[in-house]
């Protein structure tokens, strides 16, 4: 292994009077390997990367990069590193070639080397055909490759990538990973920051951050190993798996559990006997040991999952199942913007008490479909119905039946917690005693009482998410629309969120969720895979996985299935 490229000793960074963004972080980043900088949003990943680039100074501790002190010798560091910030650092109104020329000039790439370097990088990123295209008109994955190419113009000794996996489909993400892995063979040290734990798992080493503190450093397998022998999968379950999960989580000795397609995945406390499971919940199914994952060990380190009870669901009134009348219906939904078809003939129906997922890369049309179904966009053709109301004619009535929680939580940051609750109660038409009652109940269920007066903006991410959910379910909607509801949050918060959703679904609430997060897709009863505006596959997670199985990958993951189905669609298109 090559020598270490970054040394951190008690690095601390504060912004104003808020809790420190980084607190006494010590560790090293090695050359010739991929170091995952892992943690939920707000953990301090971007701050740490900026400190390493020398764009910020630490308030305390020592930080040396390639042997240079970041405080005094920042220019020398900047001459030797490659950095791709979160939004890739591209000029959208410059073409691919112009962006490359600009960065080549700024990085002082000698003229005689240019033709060769450009040729190599354009080949490597597969952008040769697009050199004349404006960067703003590239897809997310292509932008990211161009950003990477710009950061690699002079072979850096350290490459810093800030959340390169965000907003990019799994195929582009795999390509990027392969490119970066090639670089490590040449001795380049790579830092890959991410909130996705499956990305963390693939790194050579990880620095796991949470609220500015370093929780773990070392090879991911070392942490994962701590959960070895304690993870089990229950399959062949009779009856609904969500109540089973809830019961399992309440058993002594069960630390964590999630839905995985038709199965349930459980983690036991050290020393707990799997036979206990068989007695309690798995009587109907088979129980088999499963490979532990990084996420299991991470949750274990944080003290286990949140348990299976949802006070929200317990307080909800049950609705009768009515198979004859689906709650959400899409029939040939089509949306065109000019000559671009964002959504093309999307059709599905969701019966009461089902979680339905729209899965797909950014820009594929899932948000467009989603917006048409909650009445925010008028379809060019086709029909959408919620709770029997036509979204075109009875938009207001339909909207009154649905709750909406948007990406990054559509709260009013300037309003306090109590004001947000009151506002959304008003928007959904609650008045008088019912309004006061619902607000009181939400405050109690989500434990927001102590924060009532605080601005929503200043809440920690997990609480923001609780508040957003409280606002969306205030009026007991029949249908819940969730747009990327848990991207960037820590696994405990995500479990807590899904516990509520699972509980509500058992009470008869219908859920439509968009996600590009593969683990989240596993919670769904059925998924529609949206690609280039069309639904290219529809089925349960297990069905989609099975359809992608082949000799090379007999038991594909959700991501494998995604990649295979998209490639198949591309091949069919080309034929």
């Amino acid at each position: 292994m090559a020598e270490d490229v970054v040394h951190m000793a008690d690095v601390t960074k504060r912004f104003g009077r808020a809790p420190p963004a980084l607190e006494a972080v010590s560790g090293t980043i090695g050359g010739g390997e991929i170091t995952g900088l892992v943690g939920p949003d707000g953990a301090g990943k971007t701050t740490l990367i900026r400190l390493v680039t020398g764009l910020m100074r630490p308030d305390g501790g020592a930080l040396t990069v390639l042997g240079f002190d970041t405080g005094r010798e920042a220019p020398r560091i900047q001459a030797a590193i490659g950095y791709m910030p979160q939004r890739f650092g591209l000029y959208e109104d410059l073409s691919v070639q112009e962006n490359l020329d600009l960065y080549a000039d700024l990085r002082g790439l000698p003229m005689p080397e240019r033709a060769g370097t450009f040729d190599e990088l354009l080949g490597f990123t597969d952008l040769k055909r697009f050199t004349g295209r404006l960067a703003g008109q590239l897809s997310g994955g292509m932008k990211q490759k161009l950003g990477l190419a710009c950061a690699l113009l002079r072979k850096p000794r350290l490459l810093l990538l800030d959340e390169p996996g965000v907003g990019v489909d799994p195929i582009s993400r795999r390509d990027l990973w392969a490119m970066v892995q090639n670089l490590t063979r040449e001795g380049v040290g790579v830092v890959w920051s991410t909130a996705y734990l499956d990305e963390a798992e693939a790194c050579d080493r990880v620095l796991l951050l949470e609220r500015g503190r370093l929780m773990f450093t070392g090879p991911p397998a070392e942490l994962t190993g701590r959960a070895a022998g304690r993870v089990f999968k229950l399959t062949g379950l009779a009856g609904r798996r969500r109540p089973l999960l809830a019961r399992a989580l309440q058993q002594a000795g069960v630390v964590d559990g999630v839905i995985q397609g038709e199965a349930i995945r459980l983690m036991l406390a050290p020393g707990a006997e799997p036979s206990a499971l068989a007695r309690g919940v798995a009587s109907a199914g088979a129980i088999a040991p499963a490979e532990p994952r990084f996420e299991d060990a991470y949750v274990d380190m944080l003290g286990g999952g949140p348990g299976g009870r949802s006070k929200l669901a317990e307080a909800a009134t049950a609705r009768m199942a009515d198979p004859a009348h689906p709650v959400i219906e899409a029939r040939g939904l089509t949306k065109r913007f000019g000559d671009f078809t964002a959504a093309d003939g999307i059709t599905f129906t969701i019966p009461r008490g089902e979680i339905f997922g729209l899965l797909g890369p950014n820009g594929a049309g899932k948000s467009t479909t989603f917006k048409m179904l909650c009445g925010l966009l008028k379809p060019t053709a086709g029909e959408g119905r919620v709770a029997g109301f036509d979204l075109r004619r009875d938009t207001a009535a339909a909207r009154g039946r649905l709750g909406y929680m948007a990406q990054k939580f559509s709260l009013y940051g300037d309003l306090s917690v109590a004001q947000n609750l009151a506002f959304f109660a008003g928007v959904y038409g609650l008045t008088g005693a019912r309004k006061a009652g619902r607000i009181g109940l939400m405050t109690e269920i989500f434990d927001l009482g102590a924060r009532r007066g605080q601005s929503a903006r200043d809440l920690p991410l997990g609480l923001k998410q609780r508040l957003a959910l409280a606002c969306a379910v205030m009026h007991e909607p029949e249908a819940l629309f969730l747009d990327e509801p848990t991207s960037g949050v820590d696994p405990i918060t995500r479990r807590e969120f899904w516990t509520h959703i699972n509980g509500l679904v058992e009470k008869g609430v219908t859920v439509l969720v968009t996600t590009h997060f593969m683990d989240e897709a596993e919670y769904c009863d059925r998924i529609s895979l949206i690609y280039r505006g069309r639904s290219i596959a529809l089925g349960s997670p297990d069905e989609l996985k099975a359809s992608a199985a082949n000799a090379d990958t007999p038991t594909p993951t959700m991501e494998d299935a995604f990649v295979a189905l998209v490639r198949r669609s591309d091949a069919a298109e080309a034929a």
Partner: protein, 385 residues
């Protein structure tokens, strides 16, 4: 070899020149491709110029007034005829001032001129000024003083003529008014040069602060800063293209002013460019400082409007004479760069080159620019926090 192996003396100068050229080229592409910069630099200035050239006029022509002749005598009739003949007034005749009171309140007339029953024309003959009453709406001071002054002017002219007709020299010295530099007293002639200063404020401060703030918002500034480029190069790479754009917008306005609006141009082109270039220094410095301090397009545009655009309009002597402002406000005008440019620019158009005045203005503007550049460079220092 990696960049870190280079000698410790820092990057070679040729690298610096190349980086600077790359930044200027990048910025120029962006200006050309971004419709909003073309809009602010060329379309908005022309719109402003047309508004000031055609729409806004500070000259009152044919103001409607009520004329009350309390007693009809040959003398008062003669004076009334003079009012009717005046090109400044549109006269509504009446018998009683009360009949115009409501018209004045509702703005149907701008003033009431009363020729009292006691008015005797022979006062003029004795060298005195005949007394008339002028009632105006004090809530519109400009119009009020206009009506008052011009009414007195009509009477004075009438008295002088009457004196001449009766063959008695009314006064030994006849006062003949002559306005220098703007003999037609067309407000367009001084508004248009002034609006060129406004246009350069738009390009230099508003547009510049927007584009730099946009780089912060889109994260490109961060990516730039993580390269070997220095803060000085980044700033210079912004200044040069917008400096050129500001001069181009100014040139367009001058051409339109002279050839479309017929504003005279009596000074030299050298003076015009020297003054404009000097003014662009504080304007650009202010834009860069605002964007570095806010890093946000919305805030930057608000600050640029408040701290540059409005002062250039209101506190520069463009619309309101500085001499008639309260003392405290007058002191504030000293830090408004447009205050130094506008009188000099008006001279270039209407009077000609007055180099002592120009050099003083250029000196002050360059000093302000230097100060603002230092502040901007400090806040753009290659740090994010």
């Amino acid at each position: 070899m990696s960049a870190a192996d280079r000698p410790r003396s820092g990057p070679p100068p040729s690298g610096r020149a190349r980086r600077f050229a790359a930044l200027v080229r990048k910025e120029s592409y962006q200006i050309v491709r971004d419709p909003s910069s073309i809009l602010i630099a060329f379309v908005l200035p022309l719109v402003l110029l047309f508004i000031f050239g055609y729409g806004v006029s500070l000259d009152a022509v044919r103001t409607r007034v009520g004329l009350v002749v309390e007693a009809a005598t040959p003398v008062t009739q003669d004076l009334a005829a003079s009012f009717r003949a005046s090109r400044y007034f549109d006269v509504v005749p009446g018998r009683d001032r009360r009949q115009f009171e409501e018209d004045l309140v509702f703005g149907r007339v701008r003033g009431i001129v009363v020729i009292p029953a006691a008015f005797a024309g022979d006062e003029a003959g004795r060298g005195g000024v005949p007394q008339i009453q002028v009632i105006v709406d004090g809530s519109e001071p400009n119009t009020a003083s206009f009506v008052q002054n011009y009414a007195q002017g009509v009477v004075a002219t009438w008295a002088a003529q009457r004196g001449a007709e009766t063959a008695r020299p009314s006064s030994p010295i006849a006062v003949e008014q002559r306005f220098w530099f703007n003999p037609e007293l067309a407000s367009r002639n001084f508004l248009v040069p002034g609006s060129i200063a406004i246009v350069m404020t738009l390009v230099g401060t508003l547009l510049t602060s927007l584009v730099v703030a946009r780089e912060w918002e889109r994260g490109t500034m961060e990516a730039m800063m993580a390269t070997p480029v220095t803060a000085a190069e980044l700033l210079a790479g912004k200044i040069l293209p917008y400096f050129a754009l500001g001069l181009a917008a100014m040139t367009l306005c001058v051409l339109a002013a002279v050839f479309v609006f017929g504003v005279p141009f009596r000074g030299s082109i050298v003076a015009l460019y020297a003054l404009s270039a000097s003014f662009l220094m504080p304007a650009l410095g202010q834009g860069l400082l605002i964007s570095a301090a806010t890093k946000n397009q919305f805030l930057a545009s608000q600050l640029a409007l408040l701290s540059a655009f409005l002062p250039a309009f209101l506190l520069s002597g463009f619309l309101f004479e500085i001499g008639s402002m309260p003392r405290a406000i007058q002191l504030v005008t000293w830090i408004v760069p447009a205050r130094y440019l506008i009188p000099s620019l008006q001279s270039v158009f209407l009077a000609g080159d007055i180099w002592p005045m120009f050099l003083r203005a250029i000196g002050v503007m360059l000093a302000m620019g230097a100060l603002l550049f230092v502040l901007a460079a400090r806040s753009t220092a290659k740090r994010i926090a």
